[in-house]
């Protein structure tokens, strides 16, 4: 377990206060006793080699982890002071949205309906003007509006991979979450689309807290304010990105940043 000096509490308001979090698949722990605080309206990057538990970790933050068969979580995750493990997961997931590794717009829905999926699936009826406004707002935030405003009623799957991922971001933003979790959102995309998403991430932190998993060290450096380094299920180091990248306090962090593993 990372010792106290390598886990630095962020300055400013905190949105997530995570205490001794353990996540299991059956008997096997994938996240081992993680304790840290996530700052509000900042970008926090979660780094680490594959299989280090970083994806499992963020999937705990909106209780998606429990959907895997045999999955179990122990510990406490306070979202603005309330332990989300004690509230209805459906409510948690409305407040903590997610963007996945592979763009996954709903193939049976149009672009318009995809953006509103968070309302339509739950059977929430919107007035026409309100729906139009929500769609435009979310697509503008996701920097996709100009590209799709004339084809809102075409299927989302006609878009390119990068556009599909931005559509998924718009879909997540449309329900106005407080936190946006991003699980390696650019790993399936080309460099140009990747750059666009990275720009977007930096832009979005004005309105929403972002926790982004990446195995791309350079990407973490470009977009994040705070960074966490996971190794074998443990949180090894957490702190301001500038500090963690220049003067890592743990030897394993240093080795990871130098590209020794991962």
């Amino acid at each position: 377990m990372g010792n106290k000096e390598t886990i630095v509490d962020p300055r400013g308001p905190i949105i997530f206060d995570i205490r001794n979090l353990w996540a299991y698949y059956g008997e096997k722990p994938a996240v081992k006793g993680v304790t840290c605080k996530i700052p509000e309206k900042r970008v926090t990057a979660i780094m680490g080699p594959s299989g280090c538990g970083k994806t499992t970790f963020i999937r705990c933050l909106n209780r998606l982890h429990e959907l895997s068969p045999g999955a179990r979580v122990e510990g406490e995750i306070f979202l603005r002071g309330k332990n989300i493990l004690e509230i209805d997961p459906v409510v948690v997931r409305r407040r903590v949205g997610m963007v996945f590794q592979k763009p996954n717009p709903f193939p049976t829905m149009t672009i318009y309906d995809n953006v509103l999926a968070g309302y339509k699936l739950l059977g929430i009826r919107l007035r026409r003007e309100e729906a139009d406004r929500l769609v435009e707002e979310a697509l503008r935030k996701a920097a996709l509006w100009d590209e799709v405003k004339d084809s809102l009623h075409k299927r989302g799957t006609y878009l390119s991979g990068g556009q599909q991922q931005r559509l998924c971001i718009a879909r997540a933003l449309a329900v106005k979450p407080e936190v946006l979790l991003m699980d390696e959102p650019t790993s399936a995309l080309d460099p140009k689309s990747t750059a666009k998403i990275e720009e977007l991430v930096v832009e979005l932190k004005k309105t929403v807290t972002i926790v982004i998993v990446t195995h791309n060290i350079a990407q973490a450096g470009r977009v994040s304010d705070y960074a966490a380094f996971f190794y074998l299920g443990e949180l090894v180091e957490f702190g301001p990105t500038s500090q963690l990248f220049t003067v890592p306090r743990d030897k394993r962090t240093e080795e990871f940043l130098k590209g020794k593993f991962g």
Partner: protein
């Protein structure tokens, strides 16, 4: 690499047998067509719309059987739909894997029960049940007839429909369901809003395949439909289906034209089931392309 090469012999053998099956289907079609020629010549299109089936006076109209087949098959489909959908959804989405496997095996076993046993079961249990309902409703309490045949068919096609729906729902990509959960959808909302729309064409195709089975089902239906070769006057009436009239009359058909008329019914049934199956395959094919 002559004829003596075992690999080559095996290859040709496989080819030959596979081709043989195609010829078999074609052959059945041609035989049916050949056998129906006298009837086709004698009655033409009237055969399809004729309401009178009178072998003694050599009047042959197949409409009562067409109607009987359509009513019982679609009736069965409608009756089976809620059960097939709910068990398919339960097996794919709710049941723990072990329970799902055990239940699926039982459902597959249901599909393997011989038709005559379903017929016997229907005679002993469904007929009194239907008679009781008919008495309550104040219609003639035959016990046999269209409702009983639809019920037994519904039970018989349920395993096919349920397992196809289960398979279709299992094919729904995990990422899509997670996306919906991530938006705060409940399990039911995910099923309703993502899984069913995604699998809709597969579900429709599965139901069509089940319909194909119901159309041609003979033994159980013949045992409970009442075997009356007249136009049914109500949904409670006795009737005959295309398959049941063939089964009933074929051995007793002494005149050539009667035999030919029965064969023409067979040809019709062959074409209808073929069409339904082809339609279902087309839908499945389109599903796979996407």
């Amino acid at each position: 690499m002559g004829w003596g090469d075992p690999d080559r012999i095996f290859y040709r053998l496989c080819w030959g047998f596979s081709l043989g099956m195609v010829f078999l289907v074609l052959g059945i079609g041609i035989t049916l067509f050949w056998g129906s020629l006298p009837s086709l010549k004698a009655f033409g299109w009237h055969f399809l719309v004729g309401r009178i089936w009178d072998p003694v006076n050599e009047k042959f109209g197949a409409l009562p059987f067409l109607v009987g087949t359509l009513i019982t098959s679609f009736g069965a489909l409608i009756l089976t739909l809620p059960f097939a959908l709910s068990s398919g959804i339960f097996l794919a989405e709710y049941a723990p894997p072990r329970v799902a496997d055990a239940l699926s095996t039982v459902i597959d076993l249901l599909a393997g029960i011989p038709s005559v046993i379903y017929g016997l079961w229907a005679l002993f249990y469904l007929v009194p049940l239907v008679r009781w309902v008919e008495m309550k409703l104040g219609v003639i309490p035959f016990g046999l007839g269209l409702p009983t045949a639809s019920l037994v068919l519904a039970v018989m096609i349920l395993p096919y429909a349920a397992s196809i729906i289960r398979e279709v729902l299992r094919m729904v990509p995990h990422e899509l369901k997670e996306a919906a959960y991530g938006l705060g959808a409940t399990r039911w909302e995910v099923i309703r809003g993502v899984s069913i729309p995604y699998g809709l064409s597969g579900i429709v195709a599965g139901l069509l395949l089940s319909l194909g089975r119901a159309l041609g089902e003979t033994m159980a239906v013949t045992m409970v439909i009442g075997n009356r070769s007249e136009m049914p006057r109500s949904p409670w009436d006795l009737a005959n289906t295309m398959a049941s009239v063939i089964a009933n009359e074929f051995t007793e058909a002494s005149r050539d034209i009667h035999l030919s008329a029965l064969i023409e019914i067979g040809l019709l049934l062959f074409l209808i089931t073929l069409a339904v199956n082809i339609l279902a395959r087309i839908i499945i094919l389109r599903l796979q392309v996407r």
